[in-house]
């Protein structure tokens, strides 16, 4: 005859496990070739090429130095590389291979993976920005920061919003391959039209109106305008904040994984 086991009292779980998961994820993400290529190498190489491709007095940049224009714009390219390519592939791969189920079965709170992915996304974005500026500065110099607080807000809000969009893609697609395909499909038009490609003044009206619909365009302008002093970027920051709220759906979905 069996007797029931007494109710087991446990210590609260969560924060310790989440901390270990964040630390592990930070380590792992730096071993991913896709991350190293897309987040660190791609923005550096492209900015070094494109920032030197225009004459200093090129009319397409509203009187701005093209090199400074691109250096300040390319922080958004790093943000997009993390949010639209790295995060979706990472989340989808974990879902596909049952890594998340293993974490859940081991007692990691369901929100801990979302927290870890978000933290890794933002940390990686900041690291990518530092690397980008470290390579661009000796070649083109760094433009003077006119409104550093607004620039920082643009980077942070943009990084969180884009990471949320990445989480949403990673949660919805069936496989890592699909996430990579959709992520690249979202990344390259955003990159070309939203700040990393030709200046908006040379785009036709139709293409420019498409560019204005892209989240990355507003992320770029919310960083570049206060940096170069061509505006506060407030309206764009508000739009990005709107995307952040929408991307909360991604975070919420990730928490429920």
């Amino acid at each position: 005859m069996s007797t029931s086991t007494p109710v087991t009292r446990t210590r609260p779980v969560g924060s310790g496990a989440a901390g270990r998961l964040v630390a592990a994820e930070l380590r792992l993400v730096l071993r991913e070739p896709l991350v190293l290529a897309f987040v660190f190498a791609f923005p550096v190489i492209t900015v070094l090429v494109i920032a030197g491709a225009f004459a200093a007095d090129d009319a397409g940049f509203d009187g701005m130095d093209p090199a400074q224009w691109y250096v300040s714009s390319y922080l958004a390219v790093v943000i997009a590389a993390v949010g639209l390519v790295m995060v979706p592939v990472h989340v989808a791969a974990y879902r596909e291979r049952g890594v998340l189920r293993r974490f859940a079965a081991a007692g990691f709170p369901r929100w801990s993976f979302a927290l870890a992915s978000g933290t890794v996304g933002v940390a990686l974005t900041l690291a990518g920005c530092v690397v980008l500026l470290a390579f661009a500065a000796p070649v083109y110099g760094l433009p003077p920061l006119h409104r550093p607080a607004l620039v920082a807000a643009g980077v942070l809000v943009g990084a969180v919003a884009m990471t949320g969009i990445g989480l949403l893609i990673g949660c919805l697609v069936p496989s890592a391959r699909a996430a990579q395909g959709i992520g690249l499909l979202a990344f390259f038009p955003s990159f070309l039209l939203g700040g990393g490609g030709p200046p908006p003044t040379v785009l036709g009206p139709g293409v420019r109106s498409v560019a204005n619909l892209l989240p990355l365009t507003h992320v770029t302008e919310s960083i570049r305008d206060p940096w170069l002093g061509t505006g506060s970027g407030g309206a764009d920051l508000a739009v990005v904040a709107g995307f952040l709220v929408a991307s909360a759906l991604g975070w919420w979905r990730a928490v429920r994984l």
């Binding site: 029931s4 086991t5 007494p6 446990t10 969560g14 310790g16 592990a24 792992l28 291979r97 890594v99």
Partner: protein, 298 residues
Amino acid sequence: MTALVEVRGLRKAYGGRLVVDGVDLDVDEGEIVGLLGANGAGKTTTVECLQGLRRADGGTVRVLGLDPAVDGTALRTLVGSQQQDSALPDRLRVGEAVQLFRRPGSPRPDGLLAAFGLDGKRRTAFSALSGGQRQRLFLVLALLNRPRLVVLDELTQGLDPAARRDVWAAVRALRDAGSTVLLVTHFMDEAEALCDRVVVLRDGRVIDAGTPRELVDRNAPWATVRFSWPADRPWPRQPGVHEVRRDGGALEVHGDRGMVAYVCAELVRQGRVPEDLVVVMPDLEAALVGLLSEEVAA
């Protein structure tokens, strides 16, 4: 004995399709209980409900005194778990995996890693481990925090025979150390080799339960005796014999277990004790194949 797992009338449906239909299950402290059944029998869904990874649609579940639907996260910190079809990140090294899954205050993992032959693999990435090494790592992770209950779901799926034997030895070591194990498998030889008790599921329902010996006795109470015998020499009628088959110079006698004694006595009486005498007793697989066939017929 103390029941670590108590399940009564567990029900779970996916999109209107009932996959677990009124399952009762008890696991007492210190025993290895096998949840056995074909693919799709509802085994994995049952253990996922026990761990709070899925919410049951009906019935009551208590694991270590906790309700998984309410205290799932807390419960999962007390249960060591090996999940079917799950993995670790490819580039996570063995030592890092241990660091990630080990909670503060848990014993140092050195002994476990050594016991499971992974001490020299601490810097090896998960993707570089063989199938057997991966399963042994999952066992180490399941045991890291001294769980009172270990749930192992299809632990040896996809392993070669040698790796399966390694993992079986590891599970036996768990039993020797006093752990309580709920083993989910569709390999009947695995259940027979490892389990103290077996619960057989089919279409989400328990169709039989007991020790492997009890299941065999209940569902396959027969034996076969095979030996050389002259083709022109008749074999007498004997109690408990259901069928006598001749195959050239060999005779095969099939019937109740007790007939083995009569057959052997007859061989001695006739002074013809053959050197190739073989007595075949049914194993769990033979017993349950019959049981499942009866269910299909019903």
